[in-house]
């Protein structure tokens, strides 16, 4: 995947605060239901799993079906009790895993 995933989360937060996280990855999300001009089915190719973890602990994940729109967008929240690193993964049908990380300072 050429483009880096986009992540929006605050750089700092207060201990115990619930923060909002927004992520987006560029991906065609081909459903496997469409046909090309010759009538052949275009093979399915989607991001089928998204995960978010904080300091190694799972926060949020999604099992994704073809009915999620192209360039899958996920918005969710996280409660932060300490400084650390968020790690995000996107798994493609072809097995490719794209990862991204972002730090947050908690005071």
């Amino acid at each position: 995947m050429a483009e880096k995933p986009r992540i929006k989360l605050p750089k700092e937060a207060k201990k115990g605060e619930v923060i909002e996280i927004k992520t987006l990855i560029a991906h065609v999300m081909e459903t496997g239901l469409r046909k090309d001009q010759e009538g052949k089915i275009i093979p399915r190719k989607i991001i089928n799993k998204f995960t978010a973890a904080f300091n190694g602990k799972p926060v949020f994940s999604v099992d994704i079906e073809p009915a999620v729109a192209a360039n899958p967008y996920m918005q969710f929240t996280a409660k932060v009790e300490e400084s650390g690193t968020f790690r995000f993964t996107w798994t493609d049908d072809d097995g490719t895993v794209t990862t991204a990380e972002q730090d947050i300072a908690v005071t």
Binding site: V18, I19, T31, L33, R34, K35, G39, F54, K57, P58, V59, F60, S61, V62, D63, I64, E65, P66, A67, V68, A69, A70, P72, Y73, M74, Q75, F76, T77, A78, K79
Partner: protein, 151 residues
């Protein structure tokens, strides 16, 4: 007159050609029954209680290719009482399953938003499972002007 005019025959031909085309590109839609089966698998046959969930969807989605969806569930989200899973099911898409969200106490709030594809006007059904084994459900109708699945 029993014989059809040339115009009638042409119109009929065009109509069936259009029908044939639709039949080719539109995969069979999921039925409310398929949606119910997907939910039954999720709940293990338990009945989900109506409420505690709010679904934010546009009343009319002009473009079914990308429809914003926000779900929130009332929950304390503590270690011993939190929402663990939320399933989203479409009654009128080619496949019933849309997405399944998995949450933890670290999620802080039982909230999620994404963008979905909707093939036609239909009901969206959401079921949430809590760490105590309770199930809650809510549904919302959405009108779709231009479908967003298939060709």
């Amino acid at each position: 007159m029993t014989a059809k005019s040339r115009r009638d025959v042409l119109a009929l031909g065009a109509g069936s050609a259009a029908l044939a085309l639709i039949g080719e590109i539109e995969p069979a839609a999921a039925t409310p029954q398929e949606a119910a089966e997907t939910i039954a698998k999720f709940t293990g046959g338990k009945t989900a209680e109506k409420g505690r969930i709010s679904i934010d969807l546009p009343e009319i989605a002009e473009n079914g290719n990308t429809v914003p969806l926000t779900i929130s569930v009332e929950s304390p989200m503590t270690a011993d009482d939190h929402v663990t899973d939320i399933i989203v099911v479409a009654e009128g898409n080619p496949r019933a399953g849309l997405a399944t969200f998995h949450l933890t106490p670290l999620s802080g709030r039982a909230e999620a938003a994404t963008r979905i594809r909707l093939a036609a006007t239909q009901n969206i059904v959401v079921v949430a499972k809590t760490s105590k084994g309770q199930f809650y459900t809510q549904q919302k109708p959405v009108k779709v002007t231009i479908g967003g699945c298939g060709g």
